[in-house]
Amino acid sequence: MNIQMPRINRVPFFFKNQNLLIQCGIIFFIIITLTTLIGPFIVPNDPLTANMSERLAPPSSAYPLGTDHMGRCIFSRLIVGAQSTLGITALVVATVALIGIPIGLVIGYIGGRLDTVFMRVADGILALPEFILAIAIAGFLGPSLTNLMISIVFVKWIAYTRVVRSIVITERNKDYVQAAKVGGSSNWKIIRRHMFPQIVSPVLVLATLDIGKVILTISSLSYLGLGAQPPAPEWGAMLNDGRPYFQSAPELMIYPGLAIFFVVLAFNLMGEGLRDKWDVKSR
């Protein structure tokens, strides 16, 4: 039989604009990744070397963005700081996904009492604000980036578990899962083959949007002095360092602030773009 399909799934015009947004996001993303990876090898100055004679210097050929209150090169610190800020963020999001997704898959698929128990626990943890928790953990274990990560992961994984669980719960009662059961597929195979593909795109979207949030959290906690410790270059910590000089040398806060702003924006754009794209496809 010669079969031709009706072409309904054309992308409507207003979509092209949103593609532009994703493209911007992706270009940003590539720039950011490249900077993070090769940046530390090409920076003009050592980010940790203080040069008190050159403190608060204006931009020059030696210091592209000038120096901070300790005479360190701001540009170099920003670039090297990207590594700790973004690296930690990526690590946090990946850990969170690795913990959250499997738990969500299993709990959603099995359901029943396990599900009820989990949901109560999750509600309990979610009731703790992540900032307070981070402060508490920093209080117990001392302020450091590792402890900061632990506190973020502790709260964040539940969001992933919840998303995955709710998708699995709606999908597991659908006919195709029943059909797979009738066809002799084991539960493990159904989870792997039929459930997992359903959650990939929503989780990717969630993760992309989350990266922005995590950057902000890390930066704000570092700003509060609970994360990266001086003299390590980290954007939030840099903001904190610049605070006393806000009136005389505002650029100390403006540069790291802008860096955070653009990175968060890039990831959000990409996340939103991906969400729109995948939402349409799943229809």
């Binding site: 079969i3 072409r7 054309r10």
Partner: protein, 335 residues
């Protein structure tokens, strides 16, 4: 041509659709092409076609609920005096529900499961009028009785406590409360079994008499609507390929699509069949040029790839097919 005749002659047409075309915005993809039909006051008009024929889309245009990604590129839809395609959203909202009622196939999800049916009725009524709760309750009970439901019981039920037929009836009741001039029923019986379905259609015809409204009955199955409508239009690929008095179309289906649609309907037989007559191909197989059905048609000719105009066969019957001419000649000869 007949469609011009019907629109021109009868002054009491409630709904007139003229030369309507709908395309996907910013593309040349046409979903509805040059649609022509009219529904006289107090009549039931049937629209038949398979999925992708554009029948439900036609309903959305009439309701003024066309999705933003589609646009009306030509033609007009007149309900009484008002031109639907040029009304503002606010005016449309006024017309919807009050002058045009819509019954969807999805009556199952018509009512929210968490709120009692009666309460939802009261809300709908108070949305459109300034009645008190008590008055609204009376009105709701009145209309629930009208659709032959145990009004008090249904009023105090949640939607999942009602059967499919009951839900469909309740949905009808809420649709007709404001005495609409036109009821659009999109596949109202498809999800129901024969018994319940026939009773729902009985109810619709009965209500039509009482409210003196018109009904646009949409279905993919000729069988469901054939016995209820006075006129019927058969759609394929966004076009009406045959239109006319139901009895005339039934007696002498000219367009091969109508004919095959009639033949392939499932029916009870005194003798058990070994194979059902079928139509070739898939409903999505639509020819871009000429007759949309030509890719599936058993009596296709070269000329079918050209534009095939509607030509009439008698006063109340016309079809867009070269077979009309042959049919006319045959009649001429036999006379």
């Amino acid at each position: 041509m007949i469609e011009n005749k019907t629109t021109a002659t009868s002054e009491n047409n409630l709904l007139v659709v003229e030369n309507l075309s709908v395309t996907v915005r910013n593309s040349r993809e046409k979903l509805i092409r040059n649609l022509h039909f009219s529904i006289p006051q107090g009549e039931i008009f049937g629209l038949v076609g398979e999925s992708g024929s554009g029948k439900s889309l036609t309903a959305t245009v009439i309701l003024g609920m066309l999705s933003k990604s589609l646009e009306v590129t030509s033609g007009s839809v007149k309900l009484g005096q008002s031109e639907i395609t040029s009304l503002s959203e606010r005016e449309l909202r006024n017309i919807r529900g009050k002058e045009i009622a819509y019954l969807s196939q999805n009556y199952q999800s018509f009512f929210t499961p968490f709120i009692k049916v009666g309460k939802q009725f009261i809300e709908i009524i108070r949305c459109h009028t300034d009645m008190s709760r008590k008055e609204a309750r009376k009105v709701a009970i009145h209309w629930l009785n009208k659709v032959h439901l145990p009004a008090e019981r249904v009023f105090n039920s949640f939607s999942d406590e009602l059967s499919g037929g009951q839900l469909q009836r309740a949905a009808i009741a809420s649709a007709i409360m404001f005495r609409p001039k036109l009821i659009i029923a999109d596949e109202p019986t498809t999800a129901l079994d024969v018994l319940t379905g026939e009773r729902i259609l009985d109810l619709l015809s009965e209500l039509k008499e009482e409210l003196n409204c018109s009904i646009l009955l949409i279905s993919h199955d000729l069988k469901h609507i054939i016995n209820r409508t006075r006129t019927v239009g058969v759609m394929y690929g966004g076009r009406i390929v045959e239109i006319g008095k139901t009895s005339a179309v039934l007696a002498n289906p000219i367009h091969p699509y109508t004919d095959l649609l009639l033949q392939s309907r499932l029916r009870l037989n005194k003798h058990i069949q070994h194979e059902l007559p079928t139509m070739l191909g898939e409903p999505g197989l639509i020819a871009e040029e000429g007759c949309p059905f030509s890719k599936r048609c058993p009596s296709v000719r070269e000329s079918c790839s050209n534009k095939v105009p509607m030509s009439s066969l008698g006063t109340h019957h016309s079809a867009a097919c070269h077979l009309v001419k042959a049919e006319r000649e045959e009649r001429y000869v036999t006379r």
